[in-house]
Symmetry: C2
Subunit: 249 residues, 2 copies
């Protein structure tokens, strides 16, 4: 057990580049809460040890909902809703975003995400890193910023999401993929593996290890360790083994 | 890999009891976002297949923050904040809560959680199930509702939390513990294992399996599979093997 949970590569991949400080999350109705929380939580723990700033950026400052209003009354009769408050708007975003974070969610399939897509297209050239989790890759793909890049997305939603980016080198199996400054995670919880790898890369292994222990997360260290590609019968494409070489492993 | 990720007990533990419908989350400033999201997300996916209702209950209807206001300006200079909107107050909660959910977070250590503790004490006798995740067990312990029960909490915070419930049978190692109608998870991500077990128990294995696949969560099926007890040097106590027998395994 210890070997798979606590195993780590033998070499460090800490970099000497100044670590990112300012994280901006692109919010839209029907975001996936766990996509967001899976990255916000480790970064929040990190923010007690490193200076980090978080912005939540949406079309307006109104609360953003897990589920778009028109479908709030499901066919099941459920009322299952949670809203988060943005801090900035797409029209007046924070300056100097280092890391633009795009969560997935139903919104990119049945909601209106035009404003979010436009914001990503306009903002990507100004940021140092782009992170997508789950079907957030489909939102980024619609903005065109994944064109020509290797990327991955939720294997459950693979057939629905990958056509949104016909010029993307979609990669599966892959728990996460890094291509240049674009980090894309597979479904939901794969985002926690991605963010711990991101933290290890830019803030060091010790902090990543401490945060893993605090959150009791059974981390995946190998980006090719993706059993959900087979689970969801995704046809293999691309090469997950290329991922670590991009950032110095 | 498949064996550990997808392995499941050979017998079903689905019950014939009517499944819980109404979930209420106890909110307080300095909640742990991932404790909440780790359960809300699987239940949200379930809510498209089953009628489920979610309430977020706090002292007031004002936004509730990840970090209490007085400490928002950390010593690191970080501004890392996220707020969620309650739907109900402790004074006017929803009727017929089936499942009361208590997340952890810094609040139970350095915030004012008196109102939350009082609400849990008054409400527990009316609900069908109590779930705590991470240091949420410390909040429930202060309400006295864990007295005489077996329970667990985050192994990282073990020495800080367990003294808040001197009459609790604290159990470690344990990924999660079930004692009667009280379900307690270890730290943060252990809550996802707990909620999938809860879903499997009350809504059936197929839905738990589907949700695991959608969230790409490498689930722990054995409540004794808790490497973080040793990671954090927690002295063994109680017996994690008692857990499954409580609800019919």
């Amino acid at each position: 057990m210890a070997a798979t949970v606590f195993g780590a590569p033998a070499t460090t991949n800490d970099t000497k580049a100044p670590p990112p400080r300012n994280f901006g999350i692109v919010m839209y109705d029907s975001y996936d809460l766990l996509d967001i929380a899976g990255s916000v939580e480790p970064l929040y723990l990190l923010s007690s040890r490193q200076r980090l700033n978080l912005s939540l950026i949406a079309e307006t400052l109104d609360p953003v909902y897990m589920r778009p209003a028109p479908s709030e009354n499901y066919t099941t009769g459920s009322h299952f809703q949670l809203s988060v408050n943005p801090t900035h708007t797409f029209a007046d975003p924070p300056e100097d975003i280092d890391v633009l974070f795009v969560p997935g969610g139903g919104g990119e399939r049945f909601g209106n995400i035009t404003a979010a897509v436009d914001f990503i297209r306009a903002t990507y050239p100004k940021v140092k890193h782009l992170i997508t989790v789950c079907t957030g890759a489909g939102v980024a793909a619609q903005a065109g910023v994944l064109d020509g890049k290797r990327a991955t997305t939720n294997k459950w939603a693979w057939k629905e999401i990958t056509p949104t980016g016909r010029n993307v080198q979609w990669t599966s199996p892959a728990r996460w993929v890094v291509d240049g400054n674009i980090w894309t995670a597979s479904g939901v919880v794969a985002g926690v593996d991605l963010i711990l790898e991101f933290i290890e890369t830019f803030y060091g292994r010790e902090l990543a290890h401490t945060i893993q222990g605090a959150t009791e997360f059974k981390r995946t260290f190998d980006p090719c360790d993706d059993p959900f590609a087979a689970w969801h019968n995704v046809t293999p494409s691309g090469d997950c083994r290329l991922t670590p070489s991009i950032y110095g492993k």
